[in-house]
């Protein structure tokens, strides 16, 4: 199946699972979908013991990672319908205790990059040659712990952690720029010892190329990839509209309109 077909199917899975359970973070699940899809589908083999890891530090994008797991037949049939329900493995934010395939249970922002360091140190101790991919939100960069972790990764030149930023330009309440100045992110990361790359976070081709380069050690420094994305990507009236950051059940006309657009989404 073509990537574009997959992504169409995934967005439909996401919106349906959120609609079915009455709530969820739709906008940020759509913005980071391609990044997660490329990492998980192309660079993680869940059958391999010493596989690469994916840490969804922005845990509120849980519906996206669940949809990808479902797409890869890693969930039970119809399990997406149990999203955000009592006893479900698909909790509102990822719960590793319940869903063992997760590499880290997240939800409180800012903690994923530090855990990635733990995985990396462990790989070194165990002589494993794997990569740890960590996906941060752009709003999440306001958390101080991210910079504690960045200072450690930069100082120790840890090259098997790849940090991605879902640059959708919004956070819970407002846009990033209306909340705090995010000026010169490139300079910030570079001063911490990183190679800073920027790409189109919705381009499968570009993301795949960048990750191939990094995992082939093209860069001599730890890498952070700022991905330009659109919040609510794929549905015209949701794109860049922060009203759809966290949604309740959508009105039926909106839901149907979104589904119609998604089926036409290329």
């Amino acid at each position: 199946m073509k990537n574009s077909e997959d992504l169409k199917e995934l967005r439909v899975k996401i919106i349906k699972s959120i609609q079915n359970t009455d709530s969820g973070h739709l906008g940020p699940s759509f913005s980071c979908l391609e990044i997660l899809y490329v990492i998980i589908k192309k660079f993680i083999n869940f059958r391999k013991k010493d596989r690469n890891k994916i840490i969804l530090s922005k845990g509120h994008a849980a519906p996206a990672i669940y949809a990808i797991f479902d797409h890869l037949n890693l969930l039970k049939k119809n399990e997406l319908k149990t999203l955000r329900r009592f006893n479900s493995r698909l909790q509102g934010h990822p719960d590793k205790k319940k869903l063992k395939i997760l590499d880290f249970g997240t939800g409180a922002l800012g903690q994923g990059l530090s855990v990635s360091i733990g995985y990396s140190l462990s790989s070194k101790l165990l002589n494993k040659k794997n990569f740890i991919f960590c996906l941060l939100g752009d709003g999440e960069l306001q958390e101080g712990q991210i910079w504690e972790a960045a200072m450690y990764i930069g100082s120790k030149k840890i090259k098997n952690i790849v940090t991605f930023i879902d640059g959708n330009k919004f956070q819970n309440e407002f846009s990033i720029k209306d909340t705090l100045k995010e000026e010169n992110l490139k300079g910030k990361w570079e001063s911490f010892g990183f190679k800073y790359l920027e790409t189109d976070g919705h381009s499968i081709k570009k993301l795949e190329k960048i990750i191939k380069d990094i995992t082939n050690y093209k860069y001599k420094k730890p890498v952070v990839v700022y991905c330009n994305t659109t919040k609510g990507k794929g549905v015209s009236f949701m794109e860049g509209n922060n009203k759809y950051h966290s949604v309740k059940k959508l009105p039926l006309n909106e839901f149907n309109k979104a589904l119609k657009e998604l089926n036409e989404y290329e």
């Binding site: 939800g107 530090s114 990396s120 140190l121 712990q145 972790a149 450690y152």
Partner: protein, 305 residues
């Protein structure tokens, strides 16, 4: 008598010793390995030791990641700093049921450094954390025994480690049993219950009150706590006094209050500890007097209740 060593020193030596047999044990320092006595482990096992700088939150996350591959990381710092990282402990360690040992040193009446450096609310914070086991040793032997258990365990664990120097007064055959309170002195009528460094002061006070016939119960296993075993000891007394170098809100006194109330035990209870939070700076001996934790004050409290 053997050379008197501090609980923190006993802790440092014990994990370095366990580290020889158990290669899964790791140490994470937050620029305080000398003070926390992780330095022994760092010296013996440099490849399994990590200095992360002054970054407690990052240290907790790193320990969590390391634990997912089967390691047993000990992350140590002053208890006030570490347990202050509530969201990191709660969401990185607890929510993932990660096999991390959080070690909080410099608890209670630490001395001139004052309140910011002293863990005074750590037990109440940590015993509310899901899945966590919480231990506080009272002597070097107790420390060694607890470390043996903790190194084998896979559960998230909090250790409250005092810097007080305490001579070994437990029976040399003493064995730590998870959940089981240790009746150091059997008595009648009044039972003194304590944990950590204050057990020794209580021990001395009772010994000096020669004909008092007071009992002394040490609770090293704060969580889990075997309630049946505790009740079987409480039932022999009609008055209980708890003594702790920790806030009375949520600590040992609260635990005993909960057990007495929930089980309808006909026991009069006094909770003696630190009220309203912070302590002042001074040398530990003076602080013990000021907060009525020295032997003389304790004797008075025991007699008057």
């Amino acid at each position: 008598m053997n050379k008197i060593i501090s609980i923190r020193d006993a802790f440092g030596r014990a994990i370095a010793n366990e580290g020889k047999k158990n290669k899964k044990i790791l140490a994470i320092s937050i620029d305080l390995k000398g003070a926390c006595k992780l330095s022994y482990f760092f010296k013996d096992f440099p490849n399994r030791s990590f200095e992360v700088g002054i970054a407690e939150a990052n240290a907790i996350g790193i320990a969590t990641g390391l634990s997912f591959d089967g390691f047993r990381p000990f992350v140590a710092s002053f208890g006030s700093f570490l347990t202050g990282k509530n969201t990191e402990i709660r969401n990185s360690i607890c929510y993932n049921n990660a096999s991390v040992v959080v070690v909080g040193t410099h608890c209670g009446l630490i001395g001139s450094d004052g309140a910011t450096q002293s863990a005074l609310q750590d037990l109440s914070i940590m015993r509310s954390m899901p899945y966590f086991e919480v231990f506080q040793p009272c002597t070097p032997l107790d420390t060694k025994e607890i470390i043996k258990y903790v190194c084998k365990s896979k559960k998230p664990t909090y250790l409250r480690i005092a810097r007080n120097e305490i001579p070994e007064f437990l029976n040399k055959n003493y064995k730590f049993k998870i959940g089981i309170p240790n009746e150091i002195i059997k008595g009648k009528k009044k039972l003194i219950i304590s944990s950590g460094a204050m057990v020794y002061n209580c021990f001395k006070a009772i010994k000096e009150l020669k004909k008092s016939n007071y009992g002394l119960l040490n609770i090293s296993s704060i969580k889990p706590l075997n309630i049946k075993s505790l009740i079987s000891k409480l039932k022999n007394y009609n008055k209980v006094i708890t003594v702790e170098d920790h806030s009375v809100e949520g600590g040992l006194g609260s635990i005993i209050s909960e057990v007495i109330a929930e089980n309808n035990l006909n026991i009069k209870l006094k909770n003696h500890g630190l009220k309203n939070g912070f302590i002042d700076s001074d040398i530990p001996d003076n602080l013990e007097k000021e907060y009525s934790m020295d032997v003389k004050s304790l004797k008075k409290i025991f007699l008057n209740f």
